[in-house]
């Protein structure tokens, strides 16, 4: 078919092929230029992390002898690991708690809905839209009075509640997508509610639960309002640690870059892996 038409309409199809080809080359150039420009600050930061401090503030160049000294210095002098550990503890702790609270709630909403289910869901979302700054004062005072200021527990509580609506919402949509027939078949086969959940629901929605968890980890990891306002040193996660580089301006670019690279690398990779599900969670299913 193709050979036949290309033979009969040779001149036109060759020029058509050429213009399609040049359009593709143009698009490739444009697409990559835009992507690289957007990505440049990150690229530059990664690069700077492998420079010496003096090379970091010298005229921009791609040619330099890479060194790991900044990475070493960050760890030795500032105890990077402590902040990283705080970030891990807070992000995973809050995610675990949020999942624990959200799975039963989402199960009930998806499989035992009542007239109020939809209203409850929307109300949960609306709490997410409360600006943090509006409740900064009371939270700060409550934390001060209960000794939660600058503790991991305090941040975990805040992040759990902050992400709970999104986690419930995402789990609800994943559970909703699960064919009801399969659960009914399980019931016909004699599964109790718990067996239904553990043998059928959880294994089948595991990818959804995992990406929900990842989104929650990403959001907690990158959160910077509460971490800056509620922690000082003990419980400070990486967001707050990086912010501490802001005062002695211009002196430690290589170390800042090394620390930043380490701080964003895991999340960048997780983010790349879960972009599709992120959209679902971030837009509350309004964009598919």
């Amino acid at each position: 078919m193709t050979t036949l038409s290309s033979k009969t309409a040779a001149p036109r199809s060759v020029s058509g092929w050429r213009s399609a080809q040049s359009k593709r080359i143009l698009l490739t150039l444009l697409g990559w230029t835009v992507a690289l420009v957007i990505f440049f600050p990150i690229f530059w930061m990664i690069l700077t992390g492998f420079k010496t401090e003096s090379a970091a503030i010298a005229d921009p160049t791609l040619i330099f002898s890479p060194t790991l000294e900044s990475y070493q210095a960050v760890q030795e002098r500032s105890g990077y690991a402590r902040f990283a550990l705080n970030s891990v503890a807070v992000a995973f702790g809050s995610t675990f708690l949020a999942l624990l609270l959200a799975i039963p709630a989402a199960y009930a909403m998806a499989f035992l809905p009542t007239k109020r289910t939809k209203g409850t869901l929307l109300w949960m979302l609306s709490t997410k839209m409360l600006p943090s700054v509006g409740v900064l004062v009371p939270i700060y005072l409550i934390f001060r009075d209960t000794g939660l200021l600058d503790t991991r527990t305090g941040l975990i509580i805040i992040y759990t509640l902050m992400n709970l609506p999104i986690v419930v919402w995402m789990l609800y949509t994943f559970f909703k997508d699960m064919p009801k027939d399969i659960l009914e078949a399980g019931r016909m086969d004699g599964a109790s509610t718990l067996q239904e959940v553990f043998f059928l629901l959880l294994p089948l929605t595991l990818p959804g639960i995992a990406s929900t968890g990842l989104l929650s980890v990403i959001l907690s990891w990158n959160e910077a309002f509460w971490s800056l306002n509620l922690t000082t040193s003990n419980a400070a996660p990486l967001t707050a640690y990086i912010a501490s580089f802001s005062s002695p301006e211009g002196l430690f670019w290589a170390k800042l870059s090394a620390a930043s690279t380490m701080a964003i690398a895991p999340i960048l990779i997780l983010g790349w892996m879960t972009q599709k599900q992120m959209v679902r969670g971030l837009t509350f299913g309004a964009v598919k």
Binding site: P179, D181, I182, E184, A185, G186, R187, M188, D189, G190, A191, Q195, F199, L200, P203, L204
Partner: protein
Amino acid sequence: MATLQLHNITKRFGDTEVIKGIDLEVNDREFVVFVGPSGCGKSTLMRMIAGLESATDGDILIDGQRINDVGPADRGLAMVFQSYALYPHMTVEGNMGFSMRLAGVPKEERRAKVLEAAKILQLEPLLDRKPKALSGGQRQRVAIGRAIVRNPSIFLFDEPLSNLDAALRVQMRIELARLHDELDATMIYVTHDQIEAMTMADKIVVLHDGVVEQVGSPMALYHHPCNRFVAGFIGSPKMNFLPVTLTGVTSDGVAIRLPGGGERSVPVDGAHLDPNATLELGVRPEHLVLEEHGPLSGEIKVLERLGGQTSLYVQMDDELITIMADGDVAYRVNDTVRFGFDPERAHLFDAGGQALSSLQQHPLAGLTRHDNRAPGSPSEEPA
């Protein structure tokens, strides 16, 4: 192995009543088909029998025991779902053995039972596959296999063939009928397809708007539909209906005048008819015959040649009448044809849509699928 009785079953979702008081008796080893248009309540009725839906009112009895409050797994039933509902993360063997795993049956025993069922369904080579890797027909068989291993007293099938293509559907129909003979089990089957009902059922239950319109053998429903709905629903192509005028009632039947002026007497019981009653004549397309001097006539609007048969769509006043004629008829579109019918094969319906009962039972009306077998033939005849 089991009987089922429904007494005055009703089901309401909120304010809408979807099942409006159904009484039904299913005998041991019977193949019963619930058939009706979508939304008639047939699936809801089956789900109530399965225990997936609770009955708002009425009693469900299996072998005489009321089981309304018994959980779905403890009713001794197995169900094959329309979507098959296979567990996608388990192998064929895992799917079929899941109920036994939940019941704590030892692994060896489980495997033996699964193998036994797999043998019946020719699934042995597929036992280690996941449902994803199976064709539609194979998935269907796994779903049936999952039901078989539970050794249920009653099998429930919820439109099991509707996701298969036409050829496979015919094949599975035959296989299901064979399975019924082989397992000697009571089976209840829901479908909207009247051909499946006609070919497989011992007993058909026609449902419409949450009520049972008629219960009977396929041939009884075909030859003696009790009302206009059943008459139109059973049989394909659909029965033709013509308005006729009542001219008299005798002991031999009811005399009527046809739209073209011809007169006929249909052998039905008209004893209670009001002399001014409006009547409707029902004749199936296959019972209309082309005759040079037939009492009816009309213009051919569409002509479909199927080879062995030809369907004629004939305009008669406001009605489009379907006639199944011989494959070789020489007519063309816009020709006018005359046709008639054998009054013995015609039906009369009163203004309320109820059929006037026939004076004679059709000889095949009591026939069930099992009676098609030669007397004394073994049940394991080759499929």
